[in-house]
């Protein structure tokens, strides 16, 4: 399996993977951790604790303006952000694989049409459209929100896949399969797809980063769905009631740190994999 060798040889990949896995574990454990910290209190319930308490033994990160435990808020927001980012990553990778595959495999007219569309999505500013969509459907759940984000982040994955399919097509074993009149389906699933796994993974990591950027951008500005608490919305709320002027930076710093970890974790994974599978890139960036 390429993963074990990748893990052993690429420091970037290892660091990125450990950071990301750490965040995932934290997200999975969040219900238990919240229960442990504040018992059966709803983390979102206003007035459960004294407002603006300083960090101490009971409230490790203090409480916010509404008397909510900051640590618990961060803990319930993390899984929401992760779910949406990864779901969007999966959906856009799927679209990207289909489009990139058809484009790279068919070539010719099909390829130039699909490539023009992909380039169009890359060139035109799509974030305004995401903002409009998100604002007009305020009650979006995680899945629908992920679909909106994916619709605009698939071109990245499509590009990675297309270039790889094109290079795989030229390999002798694929040419051999074509010459021996194997049907397209068998060539695609038997010869090309198994060799695509790493690049699908790279596409996934990049699409997830892109989606996370867009998601946090939306929610930091208070444009995300109002039904869910995610890390961006925590930042937006904290900015809204001026935590900085009150000297309560921790309310703001906690979600920022988690998001920076998420951005770096995913970026290091994709960079480590790219360098590993495209050794020419090593040392060039």
């Amino acid at each position: 399996m390429f993963l074990t060798r990748l893990y052993r040889e690429s420091g970037k990949f290892r660091t990125g993977l450990l950071i990301t896995l750490g965040l995932i574990v934290l997200a999975l454990l969040s219900p238990i951790l919240v229960q442990w910290r504040i018992g059966d209190v709803d983390p979102l319930k206003a007035g459960a604790f004294p407002i603006f308490a300083d960090p101490d033994g009971t409230h490790w990160l203090g409480t916010d303006r509404f008397g909510r435990d900051v640590l618990s808020l961060v803990l319930i927001a993390l899984p929401v952000s992760l779910t949406v980012a990864f779901l969007a990553g999966i959906i856009s990778t799927f679209i990207g694989v289909v489009i990139g595959f058809v484009s790279g495999y068919k070539g010719g007219k099909v390829d130039s049409v699909l490539r023009t569309i992909t380039d169009m999505f890359i060139v035109i500013p799509t974030l305004p459209l995401v903002i409009i969509l998100a604002a007009n459907t305020r009650s979006l759940g995680s899945v629908r929100l992920a679909m909106v984000l994916a619709f605009f982040s698939w071109p990245v994955a499509a590009r990675v896949i297309r270039s790889q399919v094109m290079s795989l097509r030229e390999r002798p074993y694929v040419e051999l399969a074509e010459l021996s009149d194997q049907p397209d389906r068998e060539i695609i699933f038997g010869e090309i797809l198994p060799n695509m796994a790493p690049f699908v993974a790279i596409g996934f990591a990049q699409a997830s980063v892109g989606s996370a950027f867009a998601l946090v951008g939306l929610t930091v500005l208070g444009l995300g769905p109002s039904s869910q608490m995610d890390l961006g919305r925590l930042i937006s709320e904290a900015l809204g009631y001026g935590v900085i002027s009150l000297g309560k930076e921790i309310i703001f710093i906690a979600p920022v740190v988690l998001l920076i970890l998420l951005f770096y974790g995913l970026a290091l994974i994709s960079q480590g994999m790219e360098e590993f599978f495209n050794p020419r890139l090593k040392g060039s960036a």
Binding site: I117, M120, P125, T126, N136, V256, F263, L281
Partner: protein, 365 residues
């Protein structure tokens, strides 16, 4: 420019020596002309495609814009009845171009926009036309994007070349790692951090607006200073990330050029290292980066929407968010159309000047 001598211009009307072997000499034997026509065609197709797509996108949004207009009028006390009379609805449908079938609306939309640059009235400050709102906001956005793109691109390329050229030194490695770190952050995140430190914590710079609200816009020096002060943080946020990204891609280009035979040859020929850097390495590195500038602009425009909102900067990005919140479809549509046209036109211009400055371009299909 940094590269010293300008690249040799390609004789535009003299296809004799520039036609490569194997290129068919049909009616359009001139490769430059063919390149220009193909690029223009692609521009028109992309423009039509993306504008049609955005038209459909707006028409398919859930919710009814007319009820948005009426509730907006209600909040301002201009129209108090809660029941929407048929006449009222029809009047607004007509005024906002929402009557007739989808196809009729589509044709009318293109007619209005193409002939009069008219997007209909805005809801945000009804009955001011959406076009007026945009034209008021546009200079601010062009100022932000223009300064941050040009400065970020230029500094990024210069730094990237230096770091690539001196890639074995310690300081070059540090700068590269620093840039790598910054390149993984979205610009609005950098903006957020700058906002916290410089605007809230140390109160060195203003946190929102485009100029001191006690002043009236004028061409005075005082007002100019205020504009610059208010724009430092939003511009800095974009520039920091832009420099990091341009630096890394330039560095990658430079490192790949350093292995080329022509450099070894020039070196052996006795070209001084300085000349080697400016005339050989840099020229080959910054030319592709001009083409890349067009591809990157869309991302910058997108990011700028968030930054304008964060700093409540009165550009089109902030206008977009304001209009989206109250379902002002006309204004939002006008902003999106304008941004798409801007980015595509910029790309067209870059692609058209590329063959003049980089002879390799026009033969690529």
């Amino acid at each position: 420019m940094v590269a010293g001598n300008p690249a040799p211009a390609v004789p535009a009307n003299d296809p004799q020596d520039t036609t490569p072997v194997g290129v068919k000499r049909g009616k359009l034997g001139n490769p430059t002309l063919r390149y220009i026509l193909r690029r223009l065609g692609l521009y028109l197709i992309t423009l039509w495609g993306s504008l049609s797509a955005s038209f459909l996108f707006f028409r398919m949004l859930p919710g009814d814009p007319i009820s948005g207009i009426i509730s907006q009028l209600q909040t301002r006390g201009q129209y108090t009845s809660f029941e929407r009379s048929e006449d009222m609805v029809e009047h607004y449908q007509r005024e906002f171009g929402l009557h007739g079938s989808l196809f009729e609306q589509y044709v009318r939309y293109f007619q209005r926009v193409l002939t009069d640059f008219d997007f209909g009235p805005s809801v945000l400050s009804y009955p001011t036309p959406a076009t007026d709102l945009i034209l008021r906001a546009l200079p601010w956005t062009i100022y932000l994007i223009g300064v941050s793109t040009i400065v970020g691109w230029f500094l990024g390329i210069v730094l990237g070349t230096l770091v690539g050229w001196k890639r074995r030194t310690k300081w070059a490695e540090w700068i590269t790692n620093g840039a790598l770190g910054l390149s993984h952050l979205p610009a609005y995140f950098v903006a957020l951090i700058l906002l916290i430190f410089f605007a809230y914590r140390f109160r060195l710079l203003p946190s929102n607006g485009a100029y001191d609200s006690s002043m009236n816009p004028s061409w005075s020096l005082e007002f100019g200073v205020s504009v610059v002060r208010y724009s430092v943080l939003p511009i800095l946020a974009t520039i920091v990330v832009a420099i990091a990204n341009w630096m890394l891609s330039t560095r990658a280009l430079v490192v790949s050029i350093l292995g080329e035979d022509f450099l070894t040859f020039a070196n052996a020929k006795g070209v001084t290292p300085r000349r080697l850097l400016t005339n050989y390495v840099m020229r080959n590195a910054w030319l592709p980066q001009i083409a890349a500038l067009g591809m990157a602009l869309g991302g910058v425009v997108s990011g700028n929407v968030l930054i304008e909102r964060l700093f409540r900067y009165p550009g089109v990005g902030n206008l977009l968010v304001d209009s989206v919140i109250i379902k002002d479809v006309n204004t939002a549509m006008a902003v999106v159309t304008l941004l798409i046209v801007m980015v595509l036109t910029f790309n067209l211009i870059i692609d058209l000047i590329m063959p003049l400055i980089d002879p390799r371009v026009k033969f690529e299909s």
